[in-house]
Symmetry: C2
Subunit: 315 residues, 2 copies
């Protein structure tokens, strides 16, 4: 589950995806959101063609793992609810829940761009920016399970207010998320009416990540510069993360990574300029292997791990 879309799938033990279901979750209240989750899982479950043993959820929400209750969700009304308990009751099978970006990190570490790494940083850039950390080869959850909110480190001390329920301003998410990308693209489209971006605005197209990426791939300079602006901000955040973690790899996923090198190129250039050696020379900065499906695949891995642990306990 991301800030605007939910993706469900029937996933086998080798993390192969057999059936996909997509739903919009934008502008729903909590009850409707829970209904959509049940509905999407039910459809994936019925269409998977095999017995579904458990469900894993990655939700864009800070979890208190002591209680299983989401404490705050920046972009969705997911807090103050024992999401896992509610889903287990409504679905009638075992349910495992963690933060969506943690699940993306788990998928990329298990079978994707961070495979075999001991230290990895995951960023999922969509409506908001999620973070996941693999430290000493394991998912890092912090004191009570609310760590890795990498989108909410401040990179611009007097920057613009963050979005949704975040009380902060100048967060990485506030200036480099898909939402920020759309905002900057709209500004640039207005400033440069004769650019591809400007003409798209005049033609009534939705000025957002997918269109900017498409225009940039077609060579529109305004769109390329928009992605470069966001890519450089991404690089500033990654500079801090490289200095903090000295990671082997930084994996960038989420919808915005459809822009690929147009975003990662400028980010890498900033890290090369601004981060400290030896960390800046050791780190690879790459796109997620599983793209927007990383969170879903990681949630499946969480469920398989959870089932295995329960079997161990029972033995």
């Amino acid at each position: 589950m991301g800030g605007t879309k939910l993706l469900a799938g029937a996933v086998d033990a080798r993390l192969g995806v057999h059936h996909r279901v997509q739903r919009s979750v934008a502008d729903l209240d909590q009850a409707a959101l829970l209904d959509v989750a049940v509905d999407a899982v039910t459809e994936a479950r019925e269409s998977g063609g095999a017995e579904i043993a458990a469900v894993g959820f990655g939700i864009p929400c800070l979890m208190d793992q002591r209680t299983g209750i989401g404490v705050i969700a920046v972009n969705l009304p997911l807090f103050d609810v024992p999401f896992g308990d509610v889903m287990a009751e409504r679905l009638g099978i075992p349910v495992f829940v963690d933060n969506d970006a943690n699940m993306a990190a788990l998928a990329e570490h298990r079978a994707g761009a961070a495979r075999g790494c001991s230290e990895a940083v995951m960023l999922t850039i969509g409506t908001g920016i999620g973070g996941g950390l693999i430290l000493r080869g394991e998912l890092y959850r912090g004191g009570v399970g609310a760590a890795a909110e990498l989108g909410h480190m401040v990179i611009d001390i007097d920057g613009p207010p963050c979005q949704g329920n975040c009380p902060n301003h100048g967060c990485f998410e506030a200036v480099a998320s898909g939402t920020a990308l759309a905002r900057e693209a709209l500004r640039i489209a207005r400033e440069r009416p004769r650019s591809g971006l400007g003409r798209a605005l005049a033609n009534g197209l939705e000025i957002a990540g997918p269109l900017v990426t498409e225009l940039a791939h077609d060579g529109d300079l305004a769109a390329i510069e928009t992605l470069e602006l966001i890519g450089r901000r991404l690089g500033v955040a990654i500079t801090g993360l490289v200095n903090i973690f000295n990671p082997e790899v930084v994996v960038v996923g989420g919808g915005v990574i459809a822009a690929g090198e147009l975003l990662l190129g400028p980010a890498r250039a900033v890290v090369a300029e601004r981060a400290l050696p030896p960390s800046r020379d050791e780190v690879r900065i790459v796109a997620a292997r599983f793209g927007v499906e990383a969170g879903m695949i990681g949630a499946a891995a969480l469920a398989f791990d959870g089932l295995a642990r329960r079997a161990d306990v029972a033995r």
Copy 2:
């Protein structure tokens, strides 16, 4: 060893300090710096009153732990030298070396303000800003040993150049170190000649951390506001770290922490305003128990650990 001073001590296995030696290391070239280190250790060794079994060093330098070579030191000419090997040869006893702020974290975790904690963040604020991380109960060193450079995360994207050998700008260290504190104090002293700070400048006193702290404790508003400015920037950096690590405690040490609550009060207020729940409600933000001696005491702990490990291997 900090950016301007070196503190050596004869330390027993319970981390009690029996003899202290202090030296200036400001403005030395590498050869002179190594001589001062040998000299200080020799004095502490001869005055300790007991057999010294090993020496631990905390140096303000990013270590590549694969080679034992310092890769970059922001504030001292400590790089490109196998510091531990050189010291072991010149001192003739076992030597163990790690980053100074890592050592401060080790001391505070072993016997100070982070004792008993599983997740702790250490900041040492002096000439520069060092960082140390205790994650899952152990010191975190990252991929090759260069992690926890918390002073070099960007908190002001278009901020002033960082100091010494750091290629970055807008780093936490660039805006909230003791050096930044002195710079802001000088600006405020000039702007407000009738304040205590302004009169101190007119009287030719050195406008730096110790004087600002003294004047603030005496009630000088200009000095109090200077510390509040730096304290709020400290709070912005801690906000990011709280969102990243969901730590139980953030421990602040280094020379600047002599200002105590005048610095920590504003920092806590910013974290309460800007960080995400539940992390912001779980974290304690406190002064280091060992103050400026944390790094020295941690280096001793490193040496005791190192000796114990060697004895295990030999057995």
